[in-house]
C-alpha cells in the first residue's frame, strides 16, 4: 500500500447546473470569475464546478443562483475537478455519476416550473395533502372478506 496525501484539503467543491433559456454555462462562468477570481472554477457542458474555501464557495453560489433562481441548481461534490480517479480524461467514457445527473436533468424543467409556480400556490391546497390523497391505499380487509364471501356463495 502506498501513502495518500490529499490535494485541496479543507476545500469544498460544488456542481452548478444551469438549464436556462437565458443563461449558458459560459455566461455563468464569466459571472463566477467576476465574483470570485480567487476560486478554482471549471466550465463544463452542464454548468460549472467551483472549488475553494467553503464560505467563499457558498457566497459565490448564492450570487450565481440569484441570476436565475428557478433554472440554476447546485449540488455538493466529493472529488475536486480533474481528479484522476474520476476525470474522464483518464478513464474514458462518461464520468461515474454522470448518468444520474443526465437522468435528473431530463426532468429538471418540471422542477423549474414548480419553483416558478410556488408564489402562486400560497394559500391554496396543501401539496402534502394532495400527495396523501393520491397515494395508493392498501385493500381494506373488510372488502377482501366481502369478495371472498361473494365468491364462496356464488359457488354455492
Amino acid at each position: 500500500m502506498k501513502e495518500y496525501q490529499p490535494r485541496y484539503r479543507g476545500t469544498h467543491t460544488v456542481y452548478v447546473f444551469v438549464e436556462s433559456p437565458d443563461l449558458t454555462p459560459q455566461d455563468l462562468s464569466l459571472r463566477a470569475y467576476e465574483a470570485a477570481p480567487d476560486l478554482m472554477i471549471k466550465e463544463t457542458c452542464f454548468g460549472l464546478q467551483i472549488t475553494g474555501e467553503p464560505a467563499r464557495v457558498a457566497s459565490v453560489v448564492a450570487t450565481l443562483r440569484a441570476l436565475d433562481p428557478t433554472h440554476i441548481f447546485v449540488k455538493d461534490r466529493g472529488f475536486p475537478p480533474g481528479d484522476p480517479r474520476r476525470c474522464r480524461a483518464n478513464l474514458g467514457g462518461a464520468r461515474p455519476g454522470f448518468f444520474g445527473h443526465e437522468f435528473e436533468l431530463s426532468l429538471i424543467r418540471y422542477i423549474s416550473h414548480g419553483l416558478a409556480a410556488l408564489p402562486h400556490r400560497d394559500g391554496g391546497e396543501s401539496a402534502l395533502e394532495v400527495l396523501e390523497r393520491r397515494k395508493k391505499k392498501p385493500l381494506d380487509p373488510g372488502r377482501i372478506r366481502a369478495l371472498f364471501e361473494a365468491e364462496v356463495s356464488s359457488h354455492g
Binding site: 502506498k2 418540471y110 394532495v130
Partner: protein, 151 residues
Amino acid sequence: MAKVFIYPTTSLILSDMVARFGHEPLGSALGIRERIQTAGFDSPPLQVTPEEPKKGLRWAAVEVPSGVRGRMAIIGPQIEEADAAIIINDADLAFGCMGCARTNELVMYLLRHRGIPVLDLTYPRSEEEGEIFVAAIREFLEKLPKGGNAE
C-alpha cells in the same frame, strides 16, 4: 437548520431543494469528500479502505456482503445524524454500477425504523406533478425546526 437525509444519496434535485429551502442535505458526496480529504493509505477510486466494512458492522451483520457494509460505513452515520429524510421511491439511478439494491433496502429500513419525519415522493413526469413535488418539499421542510423560505 435541520439535517435532511436524501435518497437517492446522489440526487441533484433533492440536494438543491433542501439547501434552497434553508436546510442541510446529507448525501454521499459529503461522506466521499471526507474520505478524499483525509490522508492515509491510497485506496482508489473512492478512498474506501478495508477498514470501512468493519465500521459497517454497526448497521449490517457480518454475513452481509462487504459491499453493503462498506457503503453503510458512509451512509450509516448520516442516517443516524439526520433529523428528517426525503425519499424518491422510483429512483432507478440508485441501482447500477455505483449503487447497490440491498444497501438501498437497508437504508429505507433504517430510515423508517428511526422514526424521523420522512417525505415519500416519486419523480415528477409533468409540469403539474412538478408543482406538487416542489411545493410538497417546501411544506415538509417548513415544518422542520428553523426552516428557510424559497428564493
